[in-house]
Subunit: 318 residues, 2 copies
Protein backbone atom coordinates (compact mmCIF):
# COMPACT_ATOMS: atom_id res chain seq x y z
CA UNK A 1 0.00 0.00 0.00
CA UNK A 2 1.07 3.63 -0.51
CA UNK A 3 0.98 5.55 2.75
CA UNK A 4 0.67 9.27 3.40
CA UNK A 5 1.59 10.05 6.99
CA UNK A 6 0.27 13.16 8.71
CA UNK A 7 2.32 13.87 11.82
CA UNK A 8 6.03 13.18 12.19
CA UNK A 9 6.25 12.65 15.94
CA UNK A 10 7.16 9.35 17.61
CA UNK A 11 4.29 7.39 16.05
CA UNK A 12 4.37 8.92 12.58
CA UNK A 13 8.14 8.49 12.35
CA UNK A 14 7.93 4.87 13.50
CA UNK A 15 5.25 4.08 10.94
CA UNK A 16 7.46 5.62 8.25
CA UNK A 17 10.48 3.64 9.41
CA UNK A 18 8.67 0.30 9.63
CA UNK A 19 6.48 0.66 6.54
CA UNK A 20 9.03 -0.88 4.18
CA UNK A 21 9.36 -4.01 6.34
CA UNK A 22 5.64 -4.53 5.94
CA UNK A 23 5.75 -4.13 2.18
CA UNK A 24 4.39 -0.60 2.03
CA UNK A 25 5.70 2.56 0.36
CA UNK A 26 5.59 6.01 1.95
CA UNK A 27 4.58 8.65 -0.61
CA UNK A 28 4.17 11.58 1.78
CA UNK A 29 5.12 12.65 5.29
CA UNK A 30 3.82 15.91 6.72
CA UNK A 31 4.65 17.72 9.94
CA UNK A 32 2.95 20.89 11.12
CA UNK A 33 4.95 23.19 8.86
CA UNK A 34 6.10 21.19 5.86
CA UNK A 35 5.81 18.02 3.82
CA UNK A 36 8.02 15.62 1.90
CA UNK A 37 6.23 14.12 -1.08
CA UNK A 38 7.22 11.59 -3.71
CA UNK A 39 4.58 9.51 -5.46
CA UNK A 40 7.27 6.92 -6.28
CA UNK A 41 8.15 6.47 -2.63
CA UNK A 42 10.20 8.60 -0.27
CA UNK A 43 13.63 7.86 1.12
CA UNK A 44 12.29 7.68 4.66
CA UNK A 45 15.66 7.82 6.40
CA UNK A 46 16.58 10.99 4.54
CA UNK A 47 13.23 12.59 5.42
CA UNK A 48 13.59 11.80 9.12
CA UNK A 49 17.20 12.97 9.16
CA UNK A 50 16.13 16.22 7.63
CA UNK A 51 13.45 16.52 10.30
CA UNK A 52 16.12 16.03 12.99
CA UNK A 53 18.63 18.43 11.49
CA UNK A 54 16.40 21.14 10.01
CA UNK A 55 13.23 20.78 12.04
CA UNK A 56 11.08 20.15 8.96
CA UNK A 57 10.51 16.97 6.96
CA UNK A 58 10.57 18.75 3.61
CA UNK A 59 9.86 21.84 1.58
CA UNK A 60 6.34 21.22 0.31
CA UNK A 61 3.20 22.64 1.87
CA UNK A 62 1.81 20.24 4.52
CA UNK A 63 -1.64 20.36 2.89
CA UNK A 64 -0.19 19.00 -0.36
CA UNK A 65 0.54 15.70 1.38
CA UNK A 66 -3.20 15.01 1.40
CA UNK A 67 -3.47 15.61 -2.34
CA UNK A 68 -0.76 13.27 -3.54
CA UNK A 69 -1.04 9.57 -4.49
CA UNK A 70 -1.69 7.26 -1.58
CA UNK A 71 -3.98 4.42 -0.56
CA UNK A 72 -3.99 4.99 3.20
CA UNK A 73 -3.73 8.19 5.20
CA UNK A 74 -2.04 7.50 8.54
CA UNK A 75 -3.31 10.27 10.82
CA UNK A 76 -0.76 10.68 13.61
CA UNK A 77 -1.01 14.34 14.50
CA UNK A 78 -1.51 15.15 18.20
CA UNK A 79 -4.87 14.34 19.76
CA UNK A 80 -6.99 17.44 20.26
CA UNK A 81 -10.32 17.81 21.99
CA UNK A 82 -13.54 19.43 20.82
CA UNK A 83 -13.33 19.89 17.04
CA UNK A 84 -10.43 17.37 16.91
CA UNK A 85 -8.58 19.52 14.36
CA UNK A 86 -6.45 19.28 12.32
CA UNK A 87 -6.89 15.49 12.47
CA UNK A 88 -10.57 15.53 11.63
CA UNK A 89 -10.00 17.68 8.56
CA UNK A 90 -7.27 15.35 7.31
CA UNK A 91 -9.53 12.35 7.76
CA UNK A 92 -12.38 14.13 5.98
CA UNK A 93 -10.24 15.02 2.98
CA UNK A 94 -8.89 11.48 2.65
CA UNK A 95 -12.34 9.89 2.85
CA UNK A 96 -13.70 12.40 0.32
CA UNK A 97 -10.97 11.17 -2.02
CA UNK A 98 -12.10 7.57 -1.30
CA UNK A 99 -8.88 6.75 0.53
CA UNK A 100 -8.56 4.66 3.68
CA UNK A 101 -7.71 6.35 6.98
CA UNK A 102 -5.84 4.72 9.87
CA UNK A 103 -5.85 6.86 13.01
CA UNK A 104 -3.31 7.01 15.79
CA UNK A 105 -4.94 10.32 16.77
CA UNK A 106 -7.75 9.74 19.27
CA UNK A 107 -9.55 13.05 18.70
CA UNK A 108 -11.77 12.28 15.70
CA UNK A 109 -13.15 8.98 17.08
CA UNK A 110 -13.48 10.24 20.65
CA UNK A 111 -15.02 13.64 19.93
CA UNK A 112 -16.72 13.32 16.53
CA UNK A 113 -17.43 9.61 16.12
CA UNK A 114 -20.80 10.00 14.43
CA UNK A 115 -19.42 12.37 11.81
CA UNK A 116 -16.44 10.10 11.18
CA UNK A 117 -18.70 7.10 10.63
CA UNK A 118 -21.01 9.12 8.35
CA UNK A 119 -18.03 10.23 6.24
CA UNK A 120 -16.79 6.63 6.04
CA UNK A 121 -20.27 5.49 5.03
CA UNK A 122 -20.18 7.84 2.02
CA UNK A 123 -16.63 6.87 1.05
CA UNK A 124 -15.05 3.88 -0.65
CA UNK A 125 -12.37 4.28 2.02
CA UNK A 126 -12.51 2.66 5.44
CA UNK A 127 -11.54 4.10 8.84
CA UNK A 128 -9.58 2.01 11.36
CA UNK A 129 -8.13 3.10 14.72
CA UNK A 130 -6.59 0.19 16.65
CA UNK A 131 -3.68 2.42 17.70
CA UNK A 132 -5.96 4.78 19.62
CA UNK A 133 -6.74 2.28 22.40
CA UNK A 134 -4.05 0.36 24.27
CA UNK A 135 -1.11 0.91 21.92
CA UNK A 136 0.18 -2.46 20.71
CA UNK A 137 -2.68 -4.42 22.28
CA UNK A 138 -5.17 -5.84 19.75
CA UNK A 139 -8.31 -4.50 21.45
CA UNK A 140 -10.46 -3.10 18.66
CA UNK A 141 -9.64 -5.89 16.22
CA UNK A 142 -10.70 -8.43 18.84
CA UNK A 143 -13.96 -6.56 19.42
CA UNK A 144 -14.54 -6.42 15.67
CA UNK A 145 -13.87 -10.13 15.19
CA UNK A 146 -16.00 -11.13 18.17
CA UNK A 147 -18.75 -8.74 17.15
CA UNK A 148 -19.27 -5.62 19.31
CA UNK A 149 -22.76 -6.80 20.30
CA UNK A 150 -21.27 -9.83 22.07
CA UNK A 151 -19.04 -7.72 24.36
CA UNK A 152 -20.90 -6.71 27.51
CA UNK A 153 -18.22 -4.57 29.19
CA UNK A 154 -14.65 -3.36 28.82
CA UNK A 155 -12.32 -2.16 31.54
CA UNK A 156 -8.64 -1.75 32.01
CA UNK A 157 -5.50 0.15 32.73
CA UNK A 158 -5.17 2.40 29.71
CA UNK A 159 -2.55 4.96 30.66
CA UNK A 160 1.03 3.87 31.17
CA UNK A 161 2.20 7.12 32.76
CA UNK A 162 -0.41 7.01 35.52
CA UNK A 163 0.25 3.31 36.03
CA UNK A 164 3.98 3.87 36.29
CA UNK A 165 3.45 6.56 38.92
CA UNK A 166 1.05 4.45 40.99
CA UNK A 167 3.29 1.35 40.74
CA UNK A 168 6.30 3.33 41.95
CA UNK A 169 4.38 5.09 44.72
CA UNK A 170 3.14 1.71 45.99
CA UNK A 171 6.48 -0.06 45.69
CA UNK A 172 8.63 2.68 47.23
CA UNK A 173 6.22 4.51 49.53
CA UNK A 174 7.06 7.77 47.76
CA UNK A 175 4.67 10.66 47.26
CA UNK A 176 3.06 11.72 44.01
CA UNK A 177 5.22 14.80 43.31
CA UNK A 178 8.44 12.88 43.84
CA UNK A 179 7.50 10.00 41.52
CA UNK A 180 6.11 12.36 38.90
CA UNK A 181 9.46 14.17 38.77
CA UNK A 182 11.20 10.82 38.42
CA UNK A 183 8.83 9.79 35.61
CA UNK A 184 9.52 13.08 33.84
CA UNK A 185 13.28 12.46 34.12
CA UNK A 186 12.79 9.01 32.59
CA UNK A 187 10.65 10.36 29.77
CA UNK A 188 7.65 8.34 30.99
CA UNK A 189 5.75 11.52 31.87
CA UNK A 190 5.60 14.68 29.81
CA UNK A 191 6.60 18.14 31.06
CA UNK A 192 2.88 18.90 31.30
CA UNK A 193 1.53 15.58 32.56
CA UNK A 194 -2.06 16.72 33.06
CA UNK A 195 -3.49 14.78 30.10
CA UNK A 196 -2.23 11.52 31.65
CA UNK A 197 -2.52 12.06 35.40
CA UNK A 198 -5.92 13.75 35.31
CA UNK A 199 -7.33 10.71 33.51
CA UNK A 200 -8.17 12.50 30.24
CA UNK A 201 -6.11 10.16 28.06
CA UNK A 202 -7.61 7.02 29.63
CA UNK A 203 -11.06 8.59 29.36
CA UNK A 204 -10.64 9.28 25.63
CA UNK A 205 -9.74 5.62 25.11
CA UNK A 206 -12.82 4.58 27.07
CA UNK A 207 -14.97 6.94 25.02
CA UNK A 208 -13.65 5.29 21.85
CA UNK A 209 -14.43 1.86 23.32
CA UNK A 210 -17.92 3.06 24.24
CA UNK A 211 -18.49 4.30 20.69
CA UNK A 212 -17.34 1.00 19.22
CA UNK A 213 -19.46 -1.04 21.63
CA UNK A 214 -22.51 1.22 21.33
CA UNK A 215 -25.47 0.23 19.21
CA UNK A 216 -26.17 3.74 18.10
CA UNK A 217 -25.61 6.28 20.84
CA UNK A 218 -22.56 8.49 20.31
CA UNK A 219 -20.23 9.35 23.16
CA UNK A 220 -17.72 12.15 23.68
CA UNK A 221 -15.39 13.06 26.52
CA UNK A 222 -18.26 15.00 28.11
CA UNK A 223 -20.07 11.73 28.77
CA UNK A 224 -17.24 10.34 30.89
CA UNK A 225 -16.95 10.64 34.66
CA UNK A 226 -13.24 11.19 35.21
CA UNK A 227 -11.03 11.41 38.27
CA UNK A 228 -7.23 11.55 38.18
CA UNK A 229 -4.47 10.31 40.44
CA UNK A 230 -2.91 13.58 41.65
CA UNK A 231 -4.69 13.56 44.99
CA UNK A 232 -3.73 10.03 46.07
CA UNK A 233 -1.52 10.15 49.18
CA UNK A 234 1.11 7.46 49.89
CA UNK A 235 -0.91 6.61 53.00
CA UNK A 236 -3.82 5.43 50.84
CA UNK A 237 -1.51 3.03 48.99
CA UNK A 238 -0.08 1.83 52.28
CA UNK A 239 -3.52 1.21 53.68
CA UNK A 240 -4.48 -0.73 50.56
CA UNK A 241 -1.32 -2.77 50.78
CA UNK A 242 -2.10 -3.88 54.33
CA UNK A 243 -5.21 -5.44 52.83
CA UNK A 244 -3.34 -7.14 49.94
CA UNK A 245 -4.51 -4.50 47.52
CA UNK A 246 -3.20 -1.58 45.57
CA UNK A 247 -4.60 1.37 43.64
CA UNK A 248 -4.77 1.66 39.88
CA UNK A 249 -6.30 4.15 37.48
CA UNK A 250 -9.06 2.02 35.97
CA UNK A 251 -11.24 2.94 33.03
CA UNK A 252 -14.53 1.16 32.58
CA UNK A 253 -17.24 1.04 29.93
CA UNK A 254 -20.41 -0.81 30.85
CA UNK A 255 -24.13 -0.28 30.47
CA UNK A 256 -23.65 2.96 28.57
CA UNK A 257 -21.58 4.49 31.39
CA UNK A 258 -17.96 5.61 31.08
CA UNK A 259 -15.94 5.97 34.28
CA UNK A 260 -12.26 6.57 34.89
CA UNK A 261 -10.76 6.86 38.34
CA UNK A 262 -8.49 5.35 40.99
CA UNK A 263 -9.77 1.98 42.16
CA UNK A 264 -8.70 -0.55 44.74
CA UNK A 265 -7.62 -3.79 43.09
CA UNK A 266 -5.95 -6.92 44.51
CA UNK A 267 -2.17 -6.51 44.36
CA UNK A 268 -1.64 -9.58 42.20
CA UNK A 269 -4.69 -9.11 40.02
CA UNK A 270 -4.68 -8.82 36.26
CA UNK A 271 -5.79 -5.21 36.67
CA UNK A 272 -2.60 -4.33 38.55
CA UNK A 273 0.12 -4.49 35.90
CA UNK A 274 3.35 -2.80 36.90
CA UNK A 275 5.22 0.00 35.21
CA UNK A 276 3.88 1.37 31.94
CA UNK A 277 2.07 -1.81 30.83
CA UNK A 278 -1.58 -1.58 29.84
CA UNK A 279 -4.29 -4.20 30.10
CA UNK A 280 -7.78 -4.43 28.69
CA UNK A 281 -10.39 -6.86 29.95
CA UNK A 282 -13.31 -7.67 27.71
CA UNK A 283 -16.36 -9.35 29.19
CA UNK A 284 -17.93 -11.49 26.51
CA UNK A 285 -21.41 -12.91 26.27
CA UNK A 286 -20.37 -16.46 25.37
CA UNK A 287 -16.72 -16.86 26.30
CA UNK A 288 -16.17 -15.28 29.71
CA UNK A 289 -13.42 -12.77 30.21
CA UNK A 290 -10.55 -12.03 27.84
CA UNK A 291 -7.42 -10.32 29.17
CA UNK A 292 -5.26 -8.55 26.62
CA UNK A 293 -2.11 -6.85 27.83
CA UNK A 294 1.01 -5.30 26.40
CA UNK A 295 2.76 -2.02 25.79
CA UNK A 296 0.20 0.76 25.69
CA UNK A 297 2.38 3.50 24.29
CA UNK A 298 5.64 4.20 22.47
CA UNK A 299 6.48 4.94 18.85
CA UNK A 300 7.19 1.47 17.44
CA UNK A 301 4.51 -0.12 19.65
CA UNK A 302 1.79 2.22 18.46
CA UNK A 303 3.11 2.05 14.90
CA UNK A 304 2.63 -1.72 15.09
CA UNK A 305 -1.07 -1.20 15.74
CA UNK A 306 -1.26 1.17 12.75
CA UNK A 307 0.44 -1.42 10.56
CA UNK A 308 -1.92 -4.15 11.83
CA UNK A 309 -4.82 -1.98 10.74
CA UNK A 310 -3.26 -1.58 7.32
CA UNK A 311 -2.84 -5.37 7.16
CA UNK A 312 -6.53 -5.73 7.86
CA UNK A 313 -7.38 -3.24 5.12
CA UNK A 314 -5.55 -5.35 2.58
CA UNK A 315 -7.93 -8.18 3.42
CA UNK A 316 -11.06 -6.03 3.50
CA UNK A 317 -13.74 -6.09 0.87
CA UNK A 318 -12.92 -3.12 -1.38
CA UNK B 1 -23.44 -17.12 5.85
CA UNK B 2 -24.78 -20.66 5.44
CA UNK B 3 -22.97 -23.09 7.70
CA UNK B 4 -22.53 -26.85 7.41
CA UNK B 5 -21.28 -28.26 10.71
CA UNK B 6 -19.37 -31.55 10.81
CA UNK B 7 -19.33 -32.89 14.37
CA UNK B 8 -22.12 -32.46 16.90
CA UNK B 9 -20.14 -32.56 20.13
CA UNK B 10 -19.76 -29.65 22.54
CA UNK B 11 -18.19 -27.30 19.97
CA UNK B 12 -20.31 -28.24 16.95
CA UNK B 13 -23.51 -27.98 19.01
CA UNK B 14 -22.51 -24.61 20.41
CA UNK B 15 -21.72 -23.24 16.96
CA UNK B 16 -25.14 -24.43 15.79
CA UNK B 17 -26.87 -22.83 18.78
CA UNK B 18 -25.07 -19.49 18.49
CA UNK B 19 -25.07 -19.20 14.68
CA UNK B 20 -28.42 -17.43 14.51
CA UNK B 21 -27.32 -14.73 16.95
CA UNK B 22 -24.45 -13.94 14.59
CA UNK B 23 -26.73 -13.73 11.57
CA UNK B 24 -25.86 -17.11 10.07
CA UNK B 25 -28.03 -20.00 8.95
CA UNK B 26 -27.21 -23.66 9.59
CA UNK B 27 -27.97 -25.78 6.52
CA UNK B 28 -26.44 -29.05 7.73
CA UNK B 29 -25.27 -30.74 10.91
CA UNK B 30 -23.55 -34.11 10.77
CA UNK B 31 -22.49 -36.46 13.53
CA UNK B 32 -20.57 -39.70 12.97
CA UNK B 33 -23.62 -41.70 11.92
CA UNK B 34 -26.17 -39.27 10.50
CA UNK B 35 -26.93 -35.80 9.23
CA UNK B 36 -29.73 -33.24 9.34
CA UNK B 37 -29.90 -31.17 6.16
CA UNK B 38 -32.09 -28.29 5.03
CA UNK B 39 -30.78 -25.80 2.47
CA UNK B 40 -33.34 -23.27 3.78
CA UNK B 41 -31.95 -23.49 7.29
CA UNK B 42 -32.41 -26.12 10.00
CA UNK B 43 -34.40 -25.78 13.19
CA UNK B 44 -31.26 -26.13 15.31
CA UNK B 45 -33.03 -26.73 18.61
CA UNK B 46 -35.00 -29.60 17.11
CA UNK B 47 -31.85 -31.13 15.64
CA UNK B 48 -29.99 -30.99 18.96
CA UNK B 49 -33.00 -32.33 20.85
CA UNK B 50 -33.16 -35.26 18.46
CA UNK B 51 -29.45 -35.84 19.03
CA UNK B 52 -30.09 -35.95 22.80
CA UNK B 53 -33.11 -38.20 22.64
CA UNK B 54 -32.26 -40.50 19.73
CA UNK B 55 -28.48 -40.30 19.59
CA UNK B 56 -28.45 -39.04 16.00
CA UNK B 57 -28.96 -35.56 14.58
CA UNK B 58 -31.00 -36.75 11.64
CA UNK B 59 -31.77 -39.43 9.10
CA UNK B 60 -29.55 -38.41 6.17
CA UNK B 61 -26.15 -39.88 5.41
CA UNK B 62 -23.36 -37.88 7.12
CA UNK B 63 -21.50 -37.56 3.81
CA UNK B 64 -24.45 -35.74 2.28
CA UNK B 65 -23.91 -32.82 4.64
CA UNK B 66 -20.78 -31.96 2.65
CA UNK B 67 -22.72 -31.89 -0.63
CA UNK B 68 -25.51 -29.55 0.35
CA UNK B 69 -25.64 -25.74 0.03
CA UNK B 70 -23.33 -23.92 2.41
CA UNK B 71 -20.72 -21.15 2.39
CA UNK B 72 -18.59 -22.35 5.31
CA UNK B 73 -17.83 -25.84 6.55
CA UNK B 74 -17.28 -25.83 10.31
CA UNK B 75 -15.09 -28.86 10.96
CA UNK B 76 -15.61 -29.86 14.58
CA UNK B 77 -15.08 -33.61 14.53
CA UNK B 78 -12.61 -34.98 17.10
CA UNK B 79 -8.92 -34.26 16.57
CA UNK B 80 -7.05 -37.29 15.25
CA UNK B 81 -3.33 -37.76 14.68
CA UNK B 82 -1.44 -38.98 11.62
CA UNK B 83 -3.82 -38.81 8.64
CA UNK B 84 -6.13 -36.48 10.60
CA UNK B 85 -9.20 -38.24 9.25
CA UNK B 86 -12.10 -37.78 8.88
CA UNK B 87 -11.47 -34.06 9.38
CA UNK B 88 -8.94 -33.77 6.59
CA UNK B 89 -11.28 -35.42 4.06
CA UNK B 90 -14.08 -33.06 5.01
CA UNK B 91 -11.83 -30.05 4.59
CA UNK B 92 -10.60 -31.36 1.24
CA UNK B 93 -14.11 -31.86 -0.10
CA UNK B 94 -15.22 -28.39 1.00
CA UNK B 95 -12.22 -26.67 -0.55
CA UNK B 96 -12.65 -28.63 -3.77
CA UNK B 97 -16.15 -27.18 -3.89
CA UNK B 98 -14.65 -23.70 -3.35
CA UNK B 99 -16.20 -23.37 0.08
CA UNK B 100 -14.56 -21.85 3.16
CA UNK B 101 -13.46 -24.12 6.01
CA UNK B 102 -13.27 -23.11 9.66
CA UNK B 103 -11.58 -25.73 11.83
CA UNK B 104 -12.10 -26.48 15.50
CA UNK B 105 -10.35 -29.82 14.81
CA UNK B 106 -6.60 -29.50 15.31
CA UNK B 107 -5.62 -32.58 13.26
CA UNK B 108 -5.47 -31.19 9.72
CA UNK B 109 -3.39 -28.11 10.58
CA UNK B 110 -1.14 -29.90 13.07
CA UNK B 111 -0.47 -33.04 11.04
CA UNK B 112 -0.98 -32.07 7.39
CA UNK B 113 -0.44 -28.32 7.27
CA UNK B 114 1.33 -28.25 3.92
CA UNK B 115 -1.42 -30.21 2.21
CA UNK B 116 -4.11 -28.03 3.78
CA UNK B 117 -2.41 -24.86 2.53
CA UNK B 118 -1.93 -26.35 -0.94
CA UNK B 119 -5.62 -27.25 -1.12
CA UNK B 120 -6.57 -23.74 0.03
CA UNK B 121 -4.25 -22.27 -2.59
CA UNK B 122 -6.16 -24.09 -5.34
CA UNK B 123 -9.56 -23.15 -3.94
CA UNK B 124 -11.67 -20.01 -3.91
CA UNK B 125 -12.37 -21.01 -0.30
CA UNK B 126 -10.22 -19.96 2.63
CA UNK B 127 -9.15 -22.00 5.68
CA UNK B 128 -9.22 -20.48 9.17
CA UNK B 129 -8.55 -22.19 12.52
CA UNK B 130 -8.56 -19.73 15.45
CA UNK B 131 -10.46 -22.27 17.58
CA UNK B 132 -7.61 -24.79 17.44
CA UNK B 133 -5.26 -22.73 19.64
CA UNK B 134 -6.31 -21.31 23.00
CA UNK B 135 -10.10 -21.61 22.68
CA UNK B 136 -11.66 -18.16 23.00
CA UNK B 137 -8.31 -16.34 22.97
CA UNK B 138 -7.62 -14.38 19.75
CA UNK B 139 -4.17 -15.83 19.10
CA UNK B 140 -4.06 -16.63 15.40
CA UNK B 141 -5.99 -13.52 14.38
CA UNK B 142 -3.49 -11.38 16.29
CA UNK B 143 -0.59 -13.15 14.59
CA UNK B 144 -2.24 -12.64 11.22
CA UNK B 145 -2.89 -8.94 11.83
CA UNK B 146 0.62 -8.34 13.17
CA UNK B 147 2.17 -10.38 10.37
CA UNK B 148 3.67 -13.79 11.32
CA UNK B 149 7.14 -12.59 10.31
CA UNK B 150 7.08 -9.99 13.10
CA UNK B 151 6.45 -12.57 15.86
CA UNK B 152 9.72 -14.00 17.16
CA UNK B 153 8.38 -16.51 19.70
CA UNK B 154 5.17 -17.83 21.23
CA UNK B 155 4.73 -19.59 24.55
CA UNK B 156 1.97 -20.28 26.95
CA UNK B 157 -0.28 -22.44 29.00
CA UNK B 158 -2.38 -24.16 26.40
CA UNK B 159 -4.11 -26.99 28.22
CA UNK B 160 -6.71 -26.18 30.85
CA UNK B 161 -6.92 -29.72 32.26
CA UNK B 162 -3.20 -29.92 33.01
CA UNK B 163 -3.25 -26.40 34.41
CA UNK B 164 -6.20 -27.18 36.67
CA UNK B 165 -4.41 -30.25 38.03
CA UNK B 166 -1.15 -28.39 38.68
CA UNK B 167 -2.97 -25.42 40.26
CA UNK B 168 -4.86 -27.72 42.63
CA UNK B 169 -1.79 -29.81 43.47
CA UNK B 170 0.11 -26.63 44.34
CA UNK B 171 -2.71 -25.02 46.30
CA UNK B 172 -3.73 -28.08 48.31
CA UNK B 173 -0.55 -30.14 48.51
CA UNK B 174 -2.40 -33.10 47.01
CA UNK B 175 -0.87 -35.75 44.77
CA UNK B 176 -1.46 -36.14 41.04
CA UNK B 177 -3.78 -39.16 41.20
CA UNK B 178 -6.02 -37.54 43.77
CA UNK B 179 -6.41 -34.28 41.86
CA UNK B 180 -6.89 -36.09 38.57
CA UNK B 181 -9.81 -38.04 40.07
CA UNK B 182 -11.26 -34.77 41.35
CA UNK B 183 -10.86 -33.17 37.90
CA UNK B 184 -12.61 -36.14 36.33
CA UNK B 185 -15.50 -35.78 38.80
CA UNK B 186 -15.80 -32.11 37.86
CA UNK B 187 -15.73 -32.87 34.14
CA UNK B 188 -12.47 -30.92 33.75
CA UNK B 189 -10.55 -34.09 32.86
CA UNK B 190 -11.77 -36.84 30.57
CA UNK B 191 -12.07 -40.52 31.57
CA UNK B 192 -8.93 -41.09 29.51
CA UNK B 193 -6.94 -37.95 30.31
CA UNK B 194 -3.76 -38.97 28.48
CA UNK B 195 -4.18 -36.49 25.61
CA UNK B 196 -4.15 -33.62 28.10
CA UNK B 197 -1.81 -34.76 30.88
CA UNK B 198 0.85 -36.21 28.58
CA UNK B 199 1.13 -32.84 26.83
CA UNK B 200 -0.13 -34.00 23.43
CA UNK B 201 -2.95 -31.48 23.24
CA UNK B 202 -0.66 -28.56 24.17
CA UNK B 203 1.93 -29.86 21.71
CA UNK B 204 -0.57 -29.95 18.84
CA UNK B 205 -1.42 -26.32 19.55
CA UNK B 206 2.28 -25.44 19.54
CA UNK B 207 2.75 -27.31 16.26
CA UNK B 208 -0.06 -25.23 14.75
CA UNK B 209 1.61 -22.05 16.05
CA UNK B 210 4.93 -23.21 14.60
CA UNK B 211 3.31 -23.80 11.22
CA UNK B 212 1.69 -20.38 11.24
CA UNK B 213 4.92 -18.66 12.31
CA UNK B 214 7.12 -20.65 9.94
CA UNK B 215 8.39 -19.17 6.72
CA UNK B 216 8.14 -22.43 4.83
CA UNK B 217 9.13 -25.40 6.95
CA UNK B 218 6.23 -27.65 7.88
CA UNK B 219 5.88 -29.09 11.38
CA UNK B 220 3.97 -32.07 12.75
CA UNK B 221 3.62 -33.56 16.22
CA UNK B 222 6.79 -35.58 15.54
CA UNK B 223 8.81 -32.37 15.59
CA UNK B 224 7.78 -31.51 19.14
CA UNK B 225 9.68 -32.46 22.28
CA UNK B 226 6.92 -33.30 24.74
CA UNK B 227 6.84 -34.14 28.43
CA UNK B 228 3.66 -34.45 30.51
CA UNK B 229 2.74 -33.75 34.10
CA UNK B 230 2.01 -37.27 35.43
CA UNK B 231 5.36 -37.70 37.11
CA UNK B 232 5.37 -34.46 39.11
CA UNK B 233 5.35 -35.23 42.86
CA UNK B 234 3.72 -32.83 45.36
CA UNK B 235 7.19 -32.42 46.87
CA UNK B 236 8.41 -30.71 43.68
CA UNK B 237 5.59 -28.18 43.89
CA UNK B 238 6.32 -27.61 47.56
CA UNK B 239 9.98 -27.05 46.84
CA UNK B 240 9.09 -24.58 44.09
CA UNK B 241 6.73 -22.78 46.41
CA UNK B 242 9.45 -22.23 48.99
CA UNK B 243 11.22 -20.30 46.28
CA UNK B 244 8.14 -18.24 45.31
CA UNK B 245 7.58 -20.37 42.26
CA UNK B 246 5.25 -22.99 40.95
CA UNK B 247 5.15 -25.49 38.11
CA UNK B 248 3.11 -25.12 34.93
CA UNK B 249 2.89 -27.09 31.70
CA UNK B 250 4.40 -24.62 29.27
CA UNK B 251 4.45 -24.91 25.50
CA UNK B 252 7.00 -22.92 23.57
CA UNK B 253 7.70 -22.21 19.91
CA UNK B 254 10.92 -20.37 19.16
CA UNK B 255 13.74 -20.64 16.64
CA UNK B 256 12.11 -23.54 14.84
CA UNK B 257 11.92 -25.62 18.04
CA UNK B 258 8.71 -26.84 19.67
CA UNK B 259 8.86 -27.85 23.32
CA UNK B 260 6.18 -28.74 25.82
CA UNK B 261 6.90 -29.68 29.41
CA UNK B 262 6.62 -28.76 33.08
CA UNK B 263 8.52 -25.55 33.84
CA UNK B 264 9.25 -23.56 36.97
CA UNK B 265 7.58 -20.15 36.80
CA UNK B 266 7.16 -17.39 39.42
CA UNK B 267 3.95 -17.99 41.39
CA UNK B 268 2.43 -14.64 40.45
CA UNK B 269 3.68 -14.59 36.88
CA UNK B 270 1.52 -14.22 33.80
CA UNK B 271 2.49 -17.79 32.91
CA UNK B 272 0.91 -19.15 36.10
CA UNK B 273 -2.83 -18.69 35.53
CA UNK B 274 -4.99 -20.68 37.90
CA UNK B 275 -7.64 -23.27 37.14
CA UNK B 276 -8.48 -24.00 33.53
CA UNK B 277 -7.47 -20.59 32.14
CA UNK B 278 -5.06 -20.45 29.22
CA UNK B 279 -2.55 -17.77 28.30
CA UNK B 280 -0.48 -17.12 25.21
CA UNK B 281 2.51 -14.80 25.14
CA UNK B 282 3.66 -13.47 21.81
CA UNK B 283 7.09 -11.91 21.54
CA UNK B 284 6.98 -9.27 18.84
CA UNK B 285 9.76 -7.64 16.91
CA UNK B 286 8.58 -4.07 17.36
CA UNK B 287 6.14 -4.02 20.26
CA UNK B 288 7.54 -6.18 23.06
CA UNK B 289 5.43 -8.88 24.61
CA UNK B 290 1.70 -9.36 24.22
CA UNK B 291 -0.20 -11.43 26.78
CA UNK B 292 -3.51 -12.87 25.67
CA UNK B 293 -5.50 -14.90 28.16
CA UNK B 294 -8.95 -16.35 28.52
CA UNK B 295 -10.89 -19.58 28.48
CA UNK B 296 -9.00 -22.15 26.50
CA UNK B 297 -11.73 -24.75 26.14
CA UNK B 298 -15.47 -25.33 26.42
CA UNK B 299 -18.27 -25.49 23.87
CA UNK B 300 -19.48 -21.87 23.74
CA UNK B 301 -15.93 -20.52 24.25
CA UNK B 302 -14.50 -22.49 21.33
CA UNK B 303 -17.60 -21.80 19.25
CA UNK B 304 -16.91 -18.09 19.77
CA UNK B 305 -13.54 -18.51 18.09
CA UNK B 306 -15.19 -20.33 15.19
CA UNK B 307 -17.71 -17.50 14.82
CA UNK B 308 -14.92 -14.90 14.95
CA UNK B 309 -13.26 -16.69 12.06
CA UNK B 310 -16.51 -16.60 10.13
CA UNK B 311 -16.76 -12.86 10.88
CA UNK B 312 -13.32 -12.42 9.39
CA UNK B 313 -14.31 -14.38 6.30
CA UNK B 314 -17.16 -11.98 5.66
CA UNK B 315 -14.58 -9.20 5.46
CA UNK B 316 -12.09 -11.16 3.38
CA UNK B 317 -11.35 -10.48 -0.26
CA UNK B 318 -13.42 -13.10 -2.12
Amino acid sequence: MRLAIAGAGAVGSSVAQLAGDYGHRVTAVADSSSAAIDPDGLDVDAVLERKDSEGAVGTADPGDALETDYDVLVEATPTTLGDAQPGFGHLQRALQRDRHVVLANKGPVAERYGEVMALAEDSAGEVRFEATVGGAIPVLSTIEDYGPETITAARGVLNGTANFILSRMAAEGLDYEHVLAEAQDLGVAEADPSFDVEGTDAALKCVILANVLSDGREYTLEDATVEGIEAIPPSALELARGDGRTIRLIGEVAGGEIRVGPRLVPEQADLAPSGTRNIVQLETENAGRLNLSGRGAGGPETATAVLSDINRLTRAVP
